[in-house]
């Protein structure tokens, strides 16, 4: 048995025993690469996700809602920060990750390529998108890579606050005037299917699952998670008095789950490939913020370098 194989077996044994892998521990190259990819994509989703909701901050309908939304979008920036830091422990810099995002080499969650067209979309995103994210992420609080698992514990707490805040916005609308109720229904109509797509392709078309299960990046398959989301969300929609836009949706007594209609996988792949309604605008906004901020970052670096040399001069003369 070669020493490499031995290391890999020991590594897997640690994971199987429920131990956390820390950045300085030995790890297979593929484990490192997979984690860099997944964590950085997750970080990108947090910061691109700021854009569709940021779109309504200046138009929030009350001061209370404005403050709530500002705080939420700020939380997402914080999530981006923890996740970029977690990925950095694996030997990649934040600038490198940004570069991959800006060049279109790294993905982010496709849901953020849909436009926010009314205030109700802010409610629907909190309720459905943060809701779906929680289902994915609760699983990740027990993933094998320590920094990722710990970031997820912190993030999940805030995501469930976002989910409740979003649902509360929807509840207000659903109990409001006819116009408000219509606004809420329209938002649900547009965000329902894209939310189901957040769990990724069907298991049969999801090649990475087996390895991911071994490393505890995945504890449940895409289809299982999607079903879990639907089962939780349908009664919530009923409570709101809103209709889920799926004529095939019905409770299946035998399975103990809701049956649901076919997802438009063509739309899913089109959006993933960059042809969604807002892909160009979202990426464009990120690239623009980065390029316009270059002189600011350069100045901050130059200033701190100047101060360092000044401080060392002072300490030499002292």
């Amino acid at each position: 048995m070669s020493p490499e194989i031995n290391l890999e077996e020991q590594f897997q044994a640690r994971i199987d025993a429920g131990e956390k892998i820390e950045p300085k521990d030995w790890m297979p190259e593929k484990y490192r690469k997979t984690h860099i990819r997944q964590i950085s994509q997750h970080a990108h989703s947090e910061i691109v996700g700021m854009l569709p909701e940021g779109n309504w901050i200046t138009r929030a309908p009350s001061l209370r809602r404005k403050v709530g939304l500002l705080a939420k979008v700020q939380d997402e920036a914080g999530h981006g920060l923890y996740l970029y830091s977690a990925a950095e422990t694996l030997g990649i810099s934040r600038d490198q990750m940004f570069d991959q995002l800006h060049k279109g080499k790294a993905k982010y969650s496709s849901i953020f390529n849909y436009p926010t067209l009314s205030w109700a979309d802010i409610g629907a995103i909190g309720w459905l998108v943060d809701g779906a994210a929680i289902i994915n992420q609760v699983m990740l609080t027990r993933t094998s890579f320590g920094p990722y698992a710990r970031a997820m514990v912190r993030i999940c707490k805030e995501e469930s606050f976002h989910q409740r805040q979003g649902y509360e916005i929807m509840l207000g609308l659903a109990k409001g005037t006819l116009e408000q109720k219509e606004m809420a229904q329209d938002a649900l109509n547009r965000f329902w299917w894209p939310s189901l797509m957040m769990f990724g392709p069907r298991d049969a078309e999801s090649p990475n699952t087996e390895q991911s299960v071994k490393w505890k990046i995945k504890r449940k398959t895409n289809d299982e998670l999607r079903q879990q989301f639907i089962d939780i969300t349908v009664p919530q929609a009923e409570y709101l008095g809103l209709t889920i836009p799926d004529p095939d949706l019905k409770w299946n007594e035998e399975r103990g789950h809701y049956d649901f209609g076919e997802i438009d996988w063509n739309e899913f792949w089109q959006v993933v490939k960059g042809n969604g309604p807002c892909n160009k605008e979202r990426l464009g906004a990120r690239v623009n913020a980065w390029e316009e901020g270059a002189w600011v970052r350069d100045a901050a670096m130059a200033y701190s370098a100047k101060n360092k040399t000044q401080n060392s001069k002072v300490s030499k003369t002292a």
Partner: protein, 250 residues
């Protein structure tokens, strides 16, 4: 009396509201995640201050007045903020200079308002001052960083300062209401604050390797409700929901 105090509260609240709005436009578009978070935080603090002030104003006004009817249902001519605060986010240099010029004033004003004869105002000021102390540290630090950073950043900051500095005089153009508030021990003596302000600002800006522009003060009357053309656009954005869907709960 109540009516004058009400107007005075609008003057206090509108500065924070309009600047908070300008900062909220930047959320998600900052030069780095850290600055994005910090500026959103300042915007949040400012809107928190606005809520405290307008809740108090709504109580004074009575009837159906709420913090939201004050915030969302006034015309541009009924706003009393200084014109500096409605200047656009032209670039990060403008954002930082605008912020510093306001923070330095607001800190002095709040320190005084903590001693206000009006207990509510004093309590709101005490709470706000803690936040503003942090804001001014942030904006002053960034003035130095960008002013003394690179020649490019120095040039951008100097341009922003040349544009914005002349607006800062409006803070000290004491109007009738402010004079009355001063005479009642409710508001500060703006004439006295003026000298302190400009000496502090000059010290900081010279540390930041920036030159004080010798252009004269802009003749502006934002506090009396005569604004720049920007305010109308700010309000059409800010008030959109309340105007299109009137009389609803959110």
């Amino acid at each position: 009396m109540n009516d004058k105090l009400y107007k005075y509260l609008l003057m206090l609240g509108d500065n924070s509201m309009i600047l908070g709005h300008r900062l909220s436009e930047l959320c998600g578009h900052g030069p780095s995640l850290e600055t994005d978070i910090a500026l959103t935080n300042i915007s949040l603090d400012l809107f928190g201050q606005v809520r405290n002030i307008f809740q108090y104003a709504a109580k004074l006004k009575g009837a159906n007045t709420t913090e939201d009817s004050i915030a969302f249902l006034r015309t541009a001519r009924q706003h009393h903020n200084c014109i500096l605060l409605e200047q656009p986010n032209t670039d990060f240099a403008h954002v930082i200079i605008r912020q510093y010029l306001f923070d330095a004033f607001q800190k002095l004003q709040l320190e005084n308002l903590c001693e206000s004869a009006d207990d509510q105002i004093a309590a709101i000021a005490a709470k706000s001052l803690k936040e503003t102390n942090y804001h001014v540290r942030f904006s002053a630090e960034w003035c130095k960083r960008l002013g003394a950073g690179t020649s490019e950043s120095n040039q951008k900051m100097q341009e922003a300062l040349n544009h914005l500095y002349p607006f800062s005089f409006e803070f000290f153009e004491q109007n009738e209401i402010e004079s009355e508030m001063y005479s009642k021990g409710i508001g500060p003596d703006l004439n006295r604050l003026k000298d302190i302000y400009f000496s502090q600002v000059k010290t900081l800006l010279s540390t930041a390797e920036l030159n004080i522009p010798d252009s004269p003060a802009r003749h502006t009357k934002g506090k009396s409700g005569i604004h720049s053309e920007y305010l109308g656009y700010i309000l059409s954005d800010f008030q959109y929901m309340q105007r299109v869907y009137p009389n609803m709960q959110w």
